[in-house]
């Protein structure tokens, strides 16, 4: 069973649009009913990467509105609501029912609506005497955004800041953990699997894992649970593994400059919900969609940028050749034999040409789109010297050190402030030992360039804490980082000969966890199995090799991790499936801003104060 999250979510939404009646093979319900769809902002983000207006029309949805918009009555038409279960939405729904905007209301909440809110809704609609209009209330368990087949996000902002905030109380942290657990529960419910949960010891990962385990256990005990498909035949070979990590496990991935196509487009051009706005060639903003229906994006998303440019060239040449061929077959070269026999032949060729027109047009559009994107990207790279940043950071991480002059040269040279800051933080993370004088000079260089160094200070503090923690106890989670770094530092030389990509610590850990063999690196990781009775521990039969994995990163992830995990999964024999998800997908700049905010909070700020609000 391949875990295709996007397909499952689309199926659920299709079913919801058909008023939760079984959908037959052609994808439309048996009854043809025209309905109206109403959603809120969060659910709009869920729906827009998955469904286009064309698909909505196919399922009989004529109009679609935001719940906050001022809507007019459309009588005698059922309305499908897809909203989050919040007090404001309930108020809006009650207002709508009292005004009798629509004939019948089918309410679908993106996660389980708590009982008090349901009671509020009931009393509200009763008092306005419109309760007969509400025909159905459903919990859809769809509170997550799926961007690609194996990539999801919970769209919960600033979790890293909130979890690492020194002034956060227990209650706030619990709330955040609850929210994350809720999102993860929705994912598991949609996939209809009960995985084995593994996480490194300590930190938010452990809290989330144990809370999720508890929630799954409670749920499985109730009858009519959502996982009945799991059935009684449960073996380790069919259950996937859910690995939960915290951002502090590998901080560098969130900050570094990467030079592959997908991370570049996300980081530099701002890809949001698979949508991108760039400056068109003729001036004016063009908006593009980059998702799994774009063949070029799917095939070349993980290539380095220069290779992508070459690939575009190749595609363009192929397209030109095809167009020439079509022209030749129908066009003006052979006007010689134009009698009646060939009249038919010619018309046949013409018909073939017309039939192949849509396909050719589409190919041209895709090529044009990527040419435009690549051109804009190239401009940005040249201006910000991103290629040199990426290369130097890669060298730093592989070698563990950098020539001092080179470092200062980069910091004092030209480039954007944010890039310099990221480079400096990468230096800090990648260097094995903190050379105090070097750090001083780096800070001086940063201040010269008027860069806000609070993020830098924060990471410095974090690193010093980690160093002290590492020496204190041997069972800390940082051992994993140390082990992983040592391992690939040793094999770095070999790896450099074989491939130019460094494997991330995350990928390495996931690989080991999926293999399931006892390994000193991952012995620090905890195991939770919601299906097993509480007393049994160390059920060794569940540690077999796993074919499928769900990797979840608390605090913010990006396309670099996603790409690395997909690469790892493809290279395995047999091919494994890995789904990657995070609380939110952040660019490097956004993540550094969160670090800067934390730095300010801890009072480590510098002269240039940033006034960002989270």
């Amino acid at each position: 069973m391949a875990l295709n999250l996007r397909q499952k979510q689309t199926e659920c939404i299709t079913r919801m649009l058909n008023l939760n009646q079984p959908v037959n093979a052609t994808g439309t319900a048996n009854e043809e009913v025209y309905k109206i769809l109403i959603y809120d902002k969060f659910c709009q983000n869920i729906l827009s990467p998955l469904i286009h207006v064309k698909d909505l029309r196919k399922h009989g949805v004529t109009l679609y509105f935001l719940i906050d918009k001022d809507r007019k009555p459309v009588h005698d038409v059922p309305a499908v609501y897809f909203v989050q279960p919040s007090q404001a939405n309930i108020q809006r729904i009650m207002a709508d029912t009292s005004r009798s905007l629509y004939d019948s209301f089918h309410l679908n909440f993106s996660s389980s609506i708590p009982r008090p809110l349901l009671e509020d809704l009931a009393s509200g609609t009763l008092s306005s005497d419109s309760i007969h209009r509400i025909s159905k209330v459903h919990d859809q368990y769809l509170e997550f955004v799926t961007l690609e087949d194996g990539l999801f996000s919970l769209a919960q902002k600033s979790t890293y800041v909130q979890l690492n905030d020194p002034s956060a109380g227990d209650r706030e942290i619990e709330e955040i953990v609850d929210r994350i657990v809720n999102g993860l529960f929705c994912i598991l419910a949609t996939l209809a699997v009960v995985p084995i949960i593994r996480c490194p010891r300590g930190g938010p990962a452990e809290m989330v894992a144990s809370a999720l385990d508890q929630r799954l256990r409670d749920h499985l005990l109730s009858k009519n649970n959502l996982f009945t498909e799991g059935g009684s035949f449960v073996s380790s070979f069919q259950r996937p593994i859910l690995c939960i990590f915290d951002r502090n496990f590998e901080l560098s991935v969130g900050i570094q400059h990467d030079f592959r196509y997908r991370p570049l487009v996300h980081d530099v051009l701002g890809l949001r919900l698979n949508r991108l706005s760039v400056q068109g060639e003729k001036g004016g903003m063009r908006s593009y969609e980059l998702d799994s229906s774009d063949p070029f994006w799917v095939a070349n998303g993980s290539l380095e940028f220069p290779e992508v440019a070459v690939e575009i060239e190749t595609q363009l040449n192929k397209y030109k050749k095809d167009v020439d061929e079509v022209n030749r077959r129908t066009g003006g070269t052979d006007g010689a034999e134009f009698d009646e026999t060939d009249l038919t032949g010619n018309t046949k060729h013409l018909m073939n040409a017309v039939n192949s027109l849509p396909e050719l047009t589409e190919r041209k559009q895709v090529i044009d789109k990527h040419t435009n994107i690549a051109t804009v990207l190239l401009g940005e790279i040249k201006e910000r010297l991103l290629d040199s940043y990426a290369k130097k950071e890669n060298d730093m991480l592989v070698r563990g050190s950098i020539d001092r002059n080179e470092l200062l040269g980069v910091l004092k040279g030209k480039g954007m402030k944010m890039d310099k800051l990221r480079f400096a933080i990468m230096y800090l993370i990648s260097s094995e030992s903190i050379n105090q004088s070097e750090v001083e000079s780096v800070e001086a260089a940063l201040r010269e360039s008027e860069v806000d160094t609070s993020a830098f200070q924060y990471v410095k503090k974090l690193k010093s804490l980690n160093a002290s923690m590492a020496s204190a106890s041997s069972a800390s989670r940082n051992n994993i980082v140390d082990w992983a770094e040592k391992i690939y530092a040793v094999t770095a030389g070999v790896k450099n000969l074989l491939s130019s990509d460094r494997q991330l610590a995350l990928t390495r850990t996931v690989e080991l966890l999926m293999e399931g063999k006892p390994n000193p690196e991952i012995d620090g990781c905890l195991v939770f199995d919601p299906r097993s009775p509480k007393s049994s521990s160390g059920s060794s039969h569940l540690r077999g090799p796993f074919k499928e994995a769900i990797v979840f990163m608390i605090g913010g992830g990006n396309y670099v991790e996603y790409g690395s995990l997909q690469e790892f999964a493809q290279l395995q024999q047999p091919v494994k499936h890995v789904i990657y998800g995070t609380t939110e997908i952040l660019t490097g700049a956004e993540f550094v801003e969160q670090l800067a905010f934390l730095g300010h909070k801890m009072g480590l700020g510098s002269n240039v104060a940033a006034s960002t609000h989270f």
Partner: protein, 345 residues
Amino acid sequence: MHVKSAQSTFRDRTQEFQSIAEQRKKSFSSGSVPNGSSSSSKSEEQRSVVAIQSEFNRRASKIGYGIHQTSQKLAKLAKLAKRTSVFDDPTKEIQELTGLIKQDITALNSAVVDLQLLSNSRNESGNISSDTTSHSTTVVDDLKNRLMSTTKEFKEVLTMRTENMKVHENRRQLFSSTASKDSTNPFVRQRPLAARSAASSSNAPPPPPWANGSPSSSQSFPRKQMDGESQPLLQHQQHHQQQQEQQLVPLQDSYMQSRAETLQNVESTIHELSSIFNQLATLVSQQGEIAIRIDENMDDTVANVEGAQGALLKYLNSISSNRWLMIKIFFVLIFFLMVFLFFVA
């Protein structure tokens, strides 16, 4: 299995909701009586609106159902057309079915036009919200699209049927005796370039049932059959030395017939070209409705921005007006103070 799994990923809370409602109703039962009269008057005026709306809805759902049935019949026709062989040719059935489907499509077409008229008249009569207008427009558009795609499918099925007939004719030519060959040869002899005649007599039975239909599409079918005859003709040209002196009168007739067929062939080519142009036209019109995303709501953004701007302007006004007021009061106070000081001091 899949249906079962699909059903298990959501929970139906309707029962819970209704039980809560029941509980609350019992506690509210005393207070709900005075509300009854107001709600009834509201429902009176809504009823007329609802009546028109439901008329529209009923017709739309009837049309939708009709389209669904027609496409089912079309699927049956496609199956029939595919499975025909040379000797077992259910021409009559296919003919009946084709006639039925044609009637259905014409009826549905007029029904859709009526529906559009109804919705237009209702929109002009006022008292209808803008959302209802766009809803009804969208419904009519959707029905038109579906009807158009059904008609296209119908055309494709008929084209496929014609090609099958061509293939059958070829095979019939191969199997049939030399008698038919005799009748073709004189044509060939007389007009080697005519190249279109080929056993028109043997083709006589099939054209009439098709020609009786008389919509434009079916006229092209016998012509297309003739296209296929060019191949056997090339073979016949080799035997043209037989029986040249026969049948002068039929020669005349056959000459006329061959001319007619040539013309029909040209007509069929023109039909093909017209279908190509139709395709191009639909291509062009379909460009408009590609991949729009749900969140591409420019109006909302603009409205929000304008709203924000207005709010800011108002705030600015309030600030500045307050300031002016305060300054004025301040001046008056100072003035009085000075007057006071002057007269006292």
